[in-house]
Structures are given as C-alpha cells and as structure tokens.
Symmetry: C2
Subunit: 257 residues, 2 copies
C-alpha cells in the first residue's frame, strides 16, 4: 500500500527541482524496467502489480519489490496507460573520465531544448557506441519521465553528463582532443578525414552552436544536401543530423580498420 | 470578415475526412506561407492581418488576400500561438511518374503511424533530393495540420503519394526497379553497392516491413551498430534510419561520380 507521502514524492518527480533534490527519477513499464534490472542503474524502489511479481523474482530473487494494485500504480504513473511496473531509480553520479573521453568518440550537446530530440539522440548514441553524451547546463533534462521513456532503455548504456560548457570544452581543448562542430556551412563531412576519437558538438535547434562553444571547435563539418546547390530545407533536425554524422564517423573508422 | 460557415469549414480541416472531401489543407505562419507562395502548391485562400498585407503584395501583387483581425485568425488557427497569416491550399493531385521513379531514388513508407516521423522524413527526403515519397494507404496523413507545420515547407518540394501497396510495389517490381528494404538483419549498408536509382522501403514503427511489402524487396539492408555485436538499442527510430540510409545512398553516388 502506497502512503500519501510516498505518492506525493513520486508524483513530484516530473519536476526537475524535486528530481535534483531527491536524486531520483522514474522509469515505467515492463520492457524498460526489466532492461534496467540488468543494468548499472541503481533501483531505489520497485512497485508492481501481482501479475508481474513472479517474473521479477525469477529474474532477480534478491530484489525488494512492493506489490500494489493497478489503481495505486495509476496514482504514480506519468503514462497515459498505467503500466504493470514502475521503478524509482537513483540519478547516477556524473564523473568525467578524461582517459575515456580522450580515447573514444563523444557527442556534446550545446543547449538542446527539445526533450524529444534529447531522447532520440540518446538512442542514436547507444546505437553508434558513443559512451559519453555531454550536455551543456541549459539542455533539456534526461531524467524528465518523458525523455526517460523515449530513450527505450538506451540511457542505461550511455553516460550522460551535465557540465559547464567552458570548463568542459576548455579542458578538452587543452588536452588536444579534436573538437568537431556541425554547421550549415563547413567542410563536406565525406571529404573530411574523421578521427576515430574526438568530440562532436551539436548546436541548439534554433540558433545552432553558441559563440561560447564555437571558439573551441577545431573542425567545422557539414552534411551536404543533394544534389549540391539545390534549393532544399534550411536545415535538418538536430537528432537527424547527429545520426548521419555519427554513422559517418563509424563508417570511416571501420573502413580504415 | 470571416463568415461562420467559412470558420466552420476551415476548423474542420484538422480531420482527414473533411480534408479528403474538400481537397484542402491549412498552412500557417509567415515563414511557411511565404515559402509556399513561391512553390507549385496552389493557394485557394489566404488570410492575413493588416501587418502583413504590404509584404504579401510586394511578393505577389496578383494574389487575392483577405485581411482579417488577429482574433479572427485565432478562430481558424490550429497553432498554440496564432500566426499573422494562414493559407488554405489545394491538396496536389498525386500522379505517379514512372519515368521519374525509374530514373531516381525514392522512399516508400510502409504503414508509418507517427505524424512526427512522417514530418521529419519529408524534411529528410527534401534534404537528400528524394523527389518521390510514396506512402502506403495506412500511413499517417501528410495534410494533418501538425505534419504540414513540422515539415517546415519541405512538403512543397517533395511529391508525396498515397498508394495501394501491392499495386505500386508490384508495378515497380515488374519494371525491374531495385527495391531495398531496411531490416534489423540484412546486408551491411556500407558493404552494399547501392544503386543510384531505386526504392528504399521503410517499415512500420513497431512491426517493421509488412509481409505484403517484403515479397517485392530485392535487397535487404541494415545499419550496423557500433562496435559490431555490442549490446545496444533494439532499433533506431524510423526517421533516424531513413536519414542514415538516404545519406549513404547519396554518399556512394557522389563518391562514384
């Protein structure tokens, strides 16, 4: 049985303020929660209907789980259709591992505002083996329940950090890490010798890459439209652009290897 | 001054039934409408506030425009923020030009349900010079006001057709047009010799490519995740996958050329 106080706490987790205070976030639904049970994400509370209890015990005999009715679950669910299981998880501590950043390919998001774009980019990062997704402080919040659901579990495999832009990119620059920036006018992506390691900076939906980030960028790249010089859309959506660019970094890496 | 009947007619255009009956759809906002004024899209009615009248006349001196108050516009707008201008346009007649389909690269959508995905794919098609986007009858409707707005004008440069799947793909097959299907298991996209012309079939968000479409597919392709064989997301969003695939078709074409 869920106490009124607990319901109130869990309901508050759709607000960033309360997520930050409690360091908690919510993940819902069988598929997503069972994925998390096998991940490094720490579960601080697990609530499920009697339907799923056996399945949870079968998978993780030591997991503490609170059995509740569907009606109770509906009080803490943020989804339109109440799921059979909800996990309350601890927001992982963000620690920048500079050795890993230096030795791999990362994506840096400069003020990405749309939660849908953030969720999609986390899935893209997961697909293309991007271990670290670094967000400037003004980016949408990964731990918003809608974003978490939209990542379809990818967030458990990608380290997402929120950082002060100047400090992070300044350090990266000092360490001679190649920093690529995506622009409407830049070097044709396919004519660039893309390094297997480095940081790809993607800019805000409306304004592109900020002046603050631009000064650290060593190579400006662009996704050429086709045919060259045709009248076309003014830009690609930022999650679309991120996917095309990550795909090309990986293609070149594999083709070289 | 907008009559009650006219307001009623225009308000009904958020429903597919009424769009089909009237063959009309709505496009809103300065940027989008001014783009359309220079396109092949036929405008059947144009409504704007006094603020924009001079600009409309400057661009198109012969255009008939009805001057209305912002309050009146708010009665026919589907946007949260009422724009200064709204165009009512004629849904273009869809005519399949088989010579063009045979001689260029097209995308076929097999039951794409999400309006957001459709809007994004229209922009992607525009960016990569895909002239024909062919939708199976069950796809989301392009002329839904939300989809039209999300394409940001790209819909005026891409011909979007709704067809009976068997008839269209059957004809394409008979004409020996290469038909690519995107699967989770298929030939590595980067190891395929992608033809400069053909049809790329993208499947439904949940179920992938239908059995009906599958039997016409000549080459199954896949976007490899990285590193190979790592645990990753189960799939990429369909608009993301479309963009990575179209980008690679164009890259190979240009690199060959």
């Amino acid at each position: 049985m869920l106490s009124k106080n607990k319901i109130k706490l869990l309901r508050s987790l759709d607000q960033k303020k309360y997520r930050s205070e409690s360091a908690l976030f919510v993940a819902e639904g069988e598929k997503l929660v069972f994925d998390l049970l096998n991940s490094a994400i720490e579960i601080s509370g697990l609530y499920c209907t009697p339907n799923l209890v056996n399945e949870v015990f079968r998978r993780l005999p030591d997991m503490k789980v609170e059995i509740v009715t569907k009606e109770e679950l509906s009080k803490i669910s943020f989804l339109k259709t109440t799921p059979e299981i909800i996990a309350v998880c601890t927001i992982p501590k963000s620690e920048i591992d500079w050795d890993e950043i230096t030795g791999s390919l990362s994506v840096f998001l400069d003020e990405i505002q749309d939660p849908g774009n953030l969720g999609t980019i986390v899935r893209v990062a997961d697909w293309f083996g991007i271990k670290n997704l670094i967000c400037s402080e003004g980016c949408a919040d990964l731990y918003n329940p809608k974003v978490i659901q939209s990542t379809m579990g990818a967030f458990a495999r990608v380290k997402v950090h929120y950082v002060e832009l100047n400090e992070f990119l300044g350090q990266a620059h000092t360490r001679n890490i190649p920093i690529y920036g995506t622009y409407l006018e830049g070097e044709n992506l396919y004519k660039c010798d893309l390094t297997p390691t480095g940081i790809i900076v993607m800019g805000n939906e409306g304004n592109g890459i900020s002046a603050g980030a631009a000064r650290f960028i060593s190579t400006r790249i662009t996704i050429p439209s086709f045919p060259p010089n045709a009248v076309t859309s003014e830009s690609l959506n930022v999650s679309i652009a991120t996917s095309v660019i990550c795909a090309e970094f990986r293609r070149q890496f594999i083709c070289r290897g």
